[in-house]
Amino acid sequence: MPVSKYVITLCDGPSCMQKRSKQVKDVIKVELEKAGLADKVRVITSGCLGMCAKGLIMIVNPGYVIYGNVTEKDIPEIVEKHLLKKKPVARLLIEEDHLYNRFYRVFGDVNFFGKQMRIALRNCGIMDPENVDEYLALRGYEALAKVLTSMKPAEVAAEVKKAGLRGRGGAGFPTGLKWEFTAREKDPVKYLICNADEGDPGAFMDRSMIEGDPHTVIEGMIIGAYAIGAKEGFVYIRAEYPLAVKRLEKALADAKREGFLGDNILGSGFSFDIEIRLGAGAFVCGEETALIHSIEGSRGMPRPRPPFPAQSGLFGKPTVINNVETWANIPVIILDGADWFSSIGTEKSKGTKVFALAGKIKNTGLVEVPMGTTLRQIIYDIGGGIPNDKKFKAVQTGGPSGGCLPEKYLDTQIDYDSLAAAGSIMGSGGMIVIDEDSCMVNMAKFFLQFTQDESCGKCTPCREGTKRMLEILTRITEGKGVDGDIEKLERLGNMIKKSSLCGLGQSAPNPVLSTIKNFRVEYEEHIAAKKCRAGVCEGLVTYEINAKCVGCGACKRVCPTAAIAGSPKTVHVIDQAKCIKCGMCFKTCKFSAITKK
């Protein structure tokens, strides 16, 4: 089926939708039918293609022919000339050569990718990351050259500011502004850091970007260094990512050899070098000041701000820290321009965001979508929905710092502010889909366990408070919850949020608070009715043997407490007083004769 002769991609972004993309699609189908091409041409719609000014956009592959300002009236001509006579319709052709478009030449016909917009990931999956030549062929280092040739440092920062790029690490601070603050400091020595200490469980955007396209990150960093006047930069990367480290090392060596790094870059007189620093397994080092301490050779414990790193950062010098995805956006902003970049996304959140889509979803993987895409679009249009016809329960964004949003928030637009308003956060881009088989109390416990384990231990609310919250949650999932536990969780959670020293502590209670807000009933069931509706919390499950039992005795043999009785070939019975709810019988039974409640 997918191996068609032609693939027509119709842009279905908000702007093109207004230009009747749906109607045009219908006309195309009719026209293809007329021309007898219905099974030779696939028509798909994609998310915003980033050429809104010239919408409606249509792309015909192979050949990557872009038509702009397409209306219903143009369709017969396109079918006739392009598809039948293989001659593009010249009057509709537009010349747009955005960096990100390359990806679509290879992947544009796949639904999963068609709905995405790949800026940071534009080269991931279409080039050899260990070959700088392929990067150069994809206009690599041209943005750097442009900056060095025709832009003053202040203009670079201004361009990034104008683009509206906000930090992709989670907090969403305007990147250009951060650069300006740092550039403004009088100290002649400044540093620049790429935060690649990706720690969210279930998120691997940074790893993929560095493994798939390391030069983009390097190029972004050099441009940033030029803007703020830094001579030295660091990539702080997880030691758990050996392949990414290897590729980055290779890319740095290649960039140095080609003269993109080091002294007197491309003859411009500007010098900058990058060093790799390995993390050592501490989630909190994603926090700026903790990361700085780690590079300085200390325990990764955050310190109070102000002073901000922009004023006093690494070794006490003004320092810019951005994460991998932020840096990867920079060359695109420079080459395609702030105006173009800021045309993508919502009013306050510009550009795209990469998410690691995982959990109970058909298409797991990395997706990059324009800001403003709804959760529903990601989960159902790109992710393909929930497998095995299970019911959607919640989507968790922002990793251990984020929150769980139930169905009623599915139409929330993805941007910093809307997600925050809904009670979650953008975070660095973890997105976990949760179905009816998952218990929300247990999910909250999982995330809190993580943050509690990763707490650096410096400030009291986070160190002691998350421990107590975890104890209460554990108690609830074991069926020992008592009246008032929910209120205690809320009291502690709100206090920890407002009083902790760093972002880790301030966001640690989010998974708990958001599940209490949206799934309070489940908590109450656990506590009052001692019931876990998803059947996840072992302490709350009861196992019973139903009429399907053939009396094979398998369950009886595995039961560690001899709680199962029954003679051969008769229906067995579980003595609930003896049952320790280990689930062995349930796993052993081959006849679905044991039910879990």
Binding site: M1, P62, F112, C124, D133, A145, L148
Partner: protein, 118 residues
């Protein structure tokens, strides 16, 4: 005066020349996913099949690796890009499948539809 932009443009031309010389824009290109996740799913073994084929005379194909495109549940992935045709993306490729892709697709031009990612 030579500007940085001039230098990069020259470098780009040289780079393209170099990889074209190795077959970069040749009619058939094969990309095998080689990110951590892909390798975990078994892409190294798949890559070896292609490498061996290249050694044994599959010369009109440009074989290269690529990073993760993000299709985690379909890894390892292999793309076959042919000039003038829609690129073909294979998912969950095993070494056995790789051998068949070489035989049927690369040598005989037959797209193996049931393995193609949608």
């Amino acid at each position: 005066m030579v500007t940085p932009l001039d230098i990069v443009k020259k470098k780009r031309a040289e780079a393209i020349n170099r990889i074209v010389g190795k077959g970069y824009l040749s009619t058939k290109r094969v990309y095998v996913g080689m990110a951590t996740c892909e390798i975990a799913a078994g892409s190294k073994e798949v890559m070896e099949v292609f490498q061996n084929a290249a050694k044994q005379g599959l010369t009109d194909v440009y074989l290269s690796q690529k990073g993760c495109a993000g299709r985690c549940n379909l890894e390892p992935t292999v793309e076959v890009v042919e000039e003038g045709k829609i690129p073909v993306k294979y998912g969950k490729v095993t070494p056995e499948m790789a051998a068949k892709i070489i035989e049927r697709h690369l040598k005989n031009g037959e797209v193996i539809k049931e393995w193609v990612i949608n």
